[in-house]
């Protein structure tokens, strides 16, 4: 498959702080690529460079062979971008917002009108098309937000946290729709805090941490990097910080991260065999009220690669 998006050695720094450090990956035609990373990892800055909003200090981005730096207008025509925020005028209706963006993309009057009707139908907003967006529910706003990015029928769709702040029903509807687009062969770059969304939608995943791309591969490839490592979640009652500290000293435990007021996640080589040692290590600090050993998954791979959970 040929690469639709190719970014190489992207660097962006603000003063002494390097936000994106030699990040490079590619997305093939028809591929759904997930970019995972905790807050502040450099995802949004990377995406800003991909869509031509921000000039990289070094490195290059090409979309379908068009260098973004040399011909940003041509490159932008190939990309649809769904920002994390609801970037719609609340005083205007969904139809008016779509018309506004359609004009920015240079669509002709009749083409735009037809396309708006199609998209409103696609995102199930046809019956509320002329209501002000400010009166919409969170899920409806999200759907309208996505529709805008599809107006000009882009070859690559970039979705930055498209389900943030929506109810479970709307989230499911959005994911169903994205899955259908992927099945139809749309190329996708998807970022999310929700590991399960990326696992569900994407065929390949890049993990970005502290500005660096620390892993890039299919789900199977990333999980395979864990070897015989299991993810273990302990539910504790007591001094959870001290317990985590003690767990880190146990041989075979490679990571111990406090993930909630009563939970610690561990990466353990041979999870089941080390359980007695874990229980003994925390016994002075906390009582164990629950244990779950989870088979190697993307979450474990993320923890292994970054030393933190995705929502840290």
């Amino acid at each position: 498959m040929s690469s639709l998006l190719e970014c190489r050695d992207l660097v962006k720094a603000y003063g002494d702080h390097t936000v994106v450090d030699e990040v490079g990956f590619s997305i093939a035609e028809g591929e759904a690529y997930g970019l995972l990373g905790p807050n502040g990892a450099g995802k949004t800055t990377t995406i800003s460079m991909l869509v031509g909003l921000l000039a990289p200090d070094a490195g290059s981005v090409t979309v379908a062979g068009v260098p973004v730096a040399d011909d940003p207008i041509a490159a932008k025509r190939l990309v649809g971008f769904v920002p994390q925020e609801i970037a719609l005028y609340p005083e205007l209706s969904a139809r008016e917002n779509l018309r506004f963006f359609g004009r920015l993309y240079g669509l002709g009057r009749s083409e735009l009108s037809t396309r708006i009707d199609e998209l409103l139908e696609m995102v199930s907003l046809a019956d509320r098309a002329d209501d002000r967006v400010g009166h919409y529910s969170g899920g409806m706003k999200r759907r309208a937000n996505i529709a805008v990015a599809l107006l000009h029928q882009p070859r690559l769709l970039i979705l930055d946290e498209p389900t943030v702040g929506v109810d479970p029903q709307s989230r499911a509807a959005i994911l169903d729709q994205v899955e259908r687009w992927v099945a139809d062969g749309m190329s996708l770059l998807y970022t999310s805090h929700y590991m399960e969304e990326v696992e569900r939608v994407c065929t390949r995943v890049g993990i970005i941490d502290r500005g660096r791309l620390v892993a890039d591969g299919t789900r199977r490839e990333l999980v395979a990097e864990l070897g015989g490592t299991d993810r273990v979640e302990l539910v504790l009652d007591g001094d959870i910080g001290a317990a985590a500290e003690k767990l880190r000293t146990v041989q075979g435990i490679t990571e111990a991260v406090v993930t909630g007021p009563t939970t610690v996640q561990l990466l353990v080589i041979g999870g089941r065999t080390l359980l007695p040692g874990m229980l003994e290590a925390v016994s002075g600090s906390a009582a164990v009220t629950g244990v779950e050993v989870i088979e190697p998954d993307l979450e474990a791979a993320f923890l292994h690669l970054t030393g933190s959970t995705l929502r840290d």
Binding site: Y14, L53, V79, A87, G106, V148
Partner: protein, 382 residues
């Protein structure tokens, strides 16, 4: 010539948003006229006469003459008071536009008025005329007596001379029709045009801040458009709102209040340049503040202070020399001077070239700073 499509798209969207903002439209459409009406009436409207209190001794010749002259003026409503303190109190609390105390046997008259009151200023003009006429009669009578006439004969000669004299009158060829009382609208209409256009430009900057906050500008920049087109779309939107408000005030004040604005080319030049300055100010506010509600909170006081310095709230003459001089930093001052000059008959755009030059310079400066600020702060996308 048509604007590029992205610029038009932004303008259409922004104007649609403005029209749907009921509070914003109230300030753009209704508020200026309410203010013009009430301030215009306070500065001296047609219709009711100005109440003037007079303390005078009927036995005094000077008092009789001044009273007679005052009572011939239909624009004044003369009421007699017993004491000077009573008149002073009534002027202070606004029941009287002005007061006149005529001491018995003295030619030193005391005028009581509040300098910042428009009606007081108007009453003063009428009182000055009446006192001047009375003084002229007294001087003529004294001259007749000095020439040998008996006092009663001297009075008779002067009265005869007055009736025989050709009346010298000035006929207004300006905005006031014959018999119309002078109105304050000729002043308040341009003053409020400048005041509200500027303040509302600052207030509508809230929509610009909201566009930034929502990520609309960022998203627009993802589209295949140039950043200068997005900048132009935002600027033209603010400019058109300011221009529309100015035109509305000009048209409605002409039709409802009979305000004559003068040379249309001159007025257009002043208004366009002033709207460009207001647009620059709005873009600066839109670039600098972080929350939409901060725009009117910052813009309103700035607009009012500049309006005060520029004579939009009261005539600059009453503010004193120091403030009047400081006022030249305000675009309102130059625009107000230009509009008041244009309202005089016989003037045109050539009469206001210095004001236009200063306004053009201010517009270039305001827009230049705004473009730099907006590019640096509102279009930074990292």
């Amino acid at each position: 010539m048509t604007a590029p499509r992205p610029v038009r798209a932004l303008v259409v969207a922004n104007l649609s948003r403005q029209v749907r903002d009921k509070v914003g439209m109230f300030f753009v459409v209704v508020m200026p006229f309410v203010t013009i009406l009430f301030v215009g009436m306070a500065l001296g409207t047609g219709g009711s006469a100005l109440p003037v209190g007079v303390v005078a001794d009927d036995g005094d010749a000077t008092a009789r003459l001044v009273l007679a002259e005052l009572e011939t003026n239909e624009d004044l409503e003369i009421t007699r008071a017993d004491t000077a303190d009573e008149v002073r109190a009534d002027v202070r609390n606004g029941r009287l536009a002005a007061g006149l105390i005529i001491p018995s046997g003295s030619s030193g008259l005391e005028l009581v008025m509040t300098p910042s009151s428009g009606s007081g200023m108007a009453a003063r003009g009428a009182i000055d005329v009446a006192v001047g006429k009375a003084a002229a009669v007294l001087e003529a009578t004294s001259a007749a007596e000095a020439a040998g006439a008996a006092p009663d004969d001297a009075v008779a000669y002067v009265e005869e001379a007055q009736s025989d004299a050709v009346a010298v009158s000035i006929e207004s060829s300006g905005d006031q029709g014959e018999g119309d009382a002078p109105t304050g609208f000729a002043y308040t209409a341009p003053a409020n045009l400048l005041l509200f256009t500027f303040i509302n430009s600052m207030a509508v900057a809230a929509a610009l801040v909201e566009s930034r906050r929502l990520g609309m500008i960022r998203r627009a920049l993802v589209a295949p458009v140039r950043s200068r087109q997005v900048l132009a779309g935002e600027a033209v939107s603010r400019f058109l709102v300011a221009l529309a408000q100015s035109l509305l005030i000009i048209v409605v004040s002409s039709l409802l209040f009979g305000v004559q604005w003068g040379d249309p080319f001159g007025v257009t030049a002043v208004v366009v340049l002033f709207c460009l300055i207001a647009t620059g100010a709005a873009m600066m506010v839109g670039a600098w503040v972080k929350q939409p509600q901060q725009a009117p909170a910052i813009g309103m006081p700035i607009g009012i202070v500049l309006g005060m310095l520029g004579g939009c709230l009261w005539p600059r003459e009453v503010a004193g020399d120091a403030l009047s001089t400081i006022g030249y930093v305000s675009p309102h001052t130059w625009a107000m001077d230009a509009l008041l000059t244009l309202a005089d008959p016989g003037t045109g755009i050539t009469s206001i070239l210095p004001e236009l030059a200063v306004l053009a310079g201010m517009a270039v400066l305001a827009l230049g700073v705004a473009v730099v600020a907006f590019r640096r702060r509102a279009m930074v996308t990292g």
